[in-house]
């Protein structure tokens, strides 16, 4: 394992997780996915050699360098500090303009699927290559982190987006007062703020690329627009936006959830999941998909399905059976189901079964506070509240898997109001100092575009192994 070179960040992540599970204090193992575009190649090599050397000295079990052979656009220093976004192919379909359905908030995508927004503009943008959002008829699962409630942020955005678009909502929660949760939903940001953000993004467009690696870029690389795009159908009315920016400091106006059908179900006290299944069945029956109809989309949000205070939480097969039947019902309807669950409360085998049942699988993780090493390695560390990892993406009506460049994002609350997801960026470091990066394994994801440098690194790692 020492000084090994891996081709892909996914392997890096697997190693990181394995290492984390072996070390007693999970918090102290910084696992970093970064892209240091501003470092010259020679410095990267020296930095990697120094890393490998230091880990060899300290006899830590793993020091992995991940070098995906993908080619990426390298940006200047300023751009590196700003958000870098994954990219679509050069002939990206202009899906935002195409929408044959009259219903707001529903977009048509490839393979005959329709999409609704996830409520988070960055996540929609990430899924742009799919169609921008969650496909109707799919099951989204979010794996919670027991240490931090970041899944609630995702859930709130998802629910608010649906309510803003007038999409009926079914919300199930193990808390004593599920209805009270609606009071914590964020409201769409005021238009004034949207305009100022657009102006900022206009300035970002002016940044230029430091190194022209365009000739190495493959045709199939994802390539997003470099500025924030909010899909507007008409006017500046919030209701017409496909995806809104939500302000957590402003609660959602009451008329949104008294006007539509919002059904809140408590799952703490019911003996089994039969009651919840009944609710879901009747909800989904109202959103049956008929050919050619543009019925209103529905959303189901189930929070912490296997929470320990629920009586069904130790009935593994009961829960699996519920999810299977829910998945079967939602497949033939115009609805999206989001289920969050803490995987630490399930057995490994059950967790895998849940993961297989999900169409889209996300996981959130907490970031330790005041971690000096992480602060050194990541830019904007202070603003980060957690990490979001996209493990699986829904592939309805197609067999092609979706492999995107970046799967890990940092969750930030800008100005403590707006949920923002960003690709991780490495802070500028001095590679020649050879300083150690922590007592435990630290993983760096580097992107190199020239094979000769990969070869050099291989030689370096072989020397380290000896």
């Amino acid at each position: 394992m020492r000084g090994s070179l891996f081709e892909s960040p996914a392997w890096c992540r697997v190693q990181c997780q394995r290492h984390c599970s072996q070390t007693p204090h999970k918090k102290e193992v910084p696992c970093v996915f970064g892209r240091p575009p501003q470092l010259p190649i020679t410095k990267i090599i020296r930095l990697s050699a120094a890393l490998l050397a230091c880990h060899r000295r300290r006899s830590t079990p793993t020091a992995a360098l991940s070098l995906p052979p993908r080619k990426t656009k390298l940006c200047s220093v300023d751009a590196a500090m700003a958000t870098t976004k994954p990219r679509l192919s050069s002939f990206s379909r202009n899906l935002s303009a195409v929408s044959s359905s009259q219903t707001p908030g529903v977009k048509c995508g490839p393979n005959g699927t329709m999409f609704v927004s996830s409520g988070i503009a960055d996540l929609d943008r990430y899924f742009e290559i799919l169609g921008g959002g969650f496909p109707l008829g799919s099951l989204v699962m979010v794996m919670e982190d027991a240490e931090a409630p970041h899944h609630m942020l995702l859930l709130r955005n998802f629910m608010s987006q649906g309510l803003v678009h007038g999409q009926p909502l079914l919300y199930a929660s193990p808390s004593k007062d599920p209805r009270g949760f609606l009071g914590t939903l964020p409201s769409p940001a005021s238009l004034k703020h949207d305009k100022s953000r657009d102006r900022e993004s206009e300035q970002e467009k002016g940044l230029r690329i430091a190194w022209q690696y365009k000739k190495y870029m493959g045709e199939n690389q994802p390539n997003f627009d470099s500025h924030r795009v909010t899909h507007h159908y008409s006017g500046a009315d919030n209701k017409q936006d496909y995806c809104n920016e939500f302000d957590f400091r402003k609660p959602l106006e009451r008329h949104y959830f008294t006007r539509q059908r919002v059904n809140c179900v408590g799952i703490q006290h019911s003996k089994n999941l039969a009651a919840l299944q009944e609710h879901c069945a009747s909800f989904l029956a109202q959103h049956q998909r008929n050919d050619g109809s543009s019925a209103l989309a529905g959303r189901i949000a189930i929070q912490s399905l296997c929470a320990p205070q629920c009586e069904h939480s130790n009935m593994d097969w009961e829960m699996l059976s519920f999810i299977k039947s829910l998945k079967g019902m939602v497949r033939s309807s115009n609805a999206v189901v989001v289920i969050t669950f803490p995987p630490s409360l399930l057995s490994l085998s059950s967790t895998k079964r849940w993961q297989h049942m999900a169409d889209t699988l996300l996981s959130v993780a907490a970031i330790p506070d005041e971690d000096k090493e992480l602060a050194k390695l990541l830019s904007g560390y202070q603003d980060m509240v957690g990490l979001l990892n996209v493990q699986k993406v829904a592939r309805l009506n197609t067999q092609v898997p979706l492999i995107l460049e970046a799967t890990t994002f940092s969750i930030k609350l800008q100005k403590r109001r707006f949920l923002v997801l960003e690709c991780l960026n490495q802070a500028p470091v001095d590679g020649s100092s050879g300083s150690s990066y922590g007592t435990s394994g630290v993983f760096l994801q580097l992107s190199l575009t020239q094979k000769c440098y990969i070869e050099q690194l291989r030689m370096v790692s072989k020397e380290m192994d000896r």
Partner: protein, 260 residues
């Protein structure tokens, strides 16, 4: 078969020989995959090969994971029209998405749902015209959901599979199943997957590369073809390993490093 473009998977499965008798008849195929790499594309490929114009196969597709529309769209891009085949009675689709066996409290009922399913399959095979009865392929997608439908009664699932296996010798039909190997890897006694692997004549495993996922190579396939003794020219186990990349219209298979 000779006219078609054969790929590495076809060769590994023995589909490069004469199409009569169907090389997979009487054999059990198990496809294993994991969360990172889905093995359903192998199933789609086998559907396409079974329904090729030169063969006279009939497929009984027992679907627990996806509805008909999903497979229809995918196979259409691969060049096979499932709606036509369904109308021609060459593709029989059992939609089991909502199958749920009654509670485990009544011990027999859990099994009841699967027994009914088996009887349905048997009835379908017996109901086929004489010439088609010999060329039936039973496909099950996927076994982990059969377990969920049986409320965790893996014994019942095993019984069901054994009965289906008996069909392979009785009617010379082939049995192709898909299961998720990573579910069982953490169990202490993964009886179900071990028994399935033992029963299988051909084991196809889809897993990510040891270095992770990449855009050019979606994963690697390992095909273990346990040769049967009574077929001339085949003896002993053969292991094939190659990489693949899944596309909309086709799947590319290539040996490691041979892709330009």
């Amino acid at each position: 078969m000779e006219n078609q473009n054969l790929n590495l998977l076809d060769r590994a499965l023995g589909l490069d020989g004469p199409s009569e008798p169907w090389p997979l008849s009487g054999r059990v195929v198990l496809i294993e995959d994991c969360v990172e790499t889905s093995g359903s594309f192998v199933l789609h490929q086998l559907v396409k090969r079974s329904l090729s114009p030169t063969s006279s196969n009939v497929i009984i597709f027992v679907a627990f994971a996806n509805p008909f529309s999903h497979y229809d769209r995918i196979l259409r891009k691969l060049g096979c029209n499932l709606v036509t085949q369904r109308d021609n009675k060459r593709f029989i689709f059992f939609d089991m998405l909502m199958l749920r066996c009654p509670d485990v409290d009544e011990g027999k009922s859990s099994e009841g749902g699967l027994v009914l399913l088996y009887e349905k399959i048997l009835k379908t095979i017996c109901g086929l015209p004489g010439d088609k009865k010999d060329y039936v392929t039973i496909m099950i997608d996927d076994i982990s959901l059969v377990e969920v439908a049986a409320n965790g009664g893996s014994d019942y699932v095993l019984d069901f599979l054994h009965y289906c296996h008996a069909l392979t010798s009785e009617f010379d039909c082939s049995l192709i199943t898909l299961n998720h190997e990573d579910i069982y890897s953490s169990m202490e006694r993964p009886t179900l997957i071990l028994q399935m692997e033992y029963l299988a004549d051909i084991l196809i495993k889809a897993e990510p590369l040891s270095t992770g996922l990449a855009t050019d190579v979606h994963g690697q396939l390992t095909v273990l073809n346990k040769g049967t003794s009574h077929r001339l020219g085949r003896s002993g186990n053969k292991i094939h390993n190659f990489h693949y990349k899944v596309k909309e219209n086709t799947v590319e298979y290539f040996y490691p490093g041979s892709r330009v």
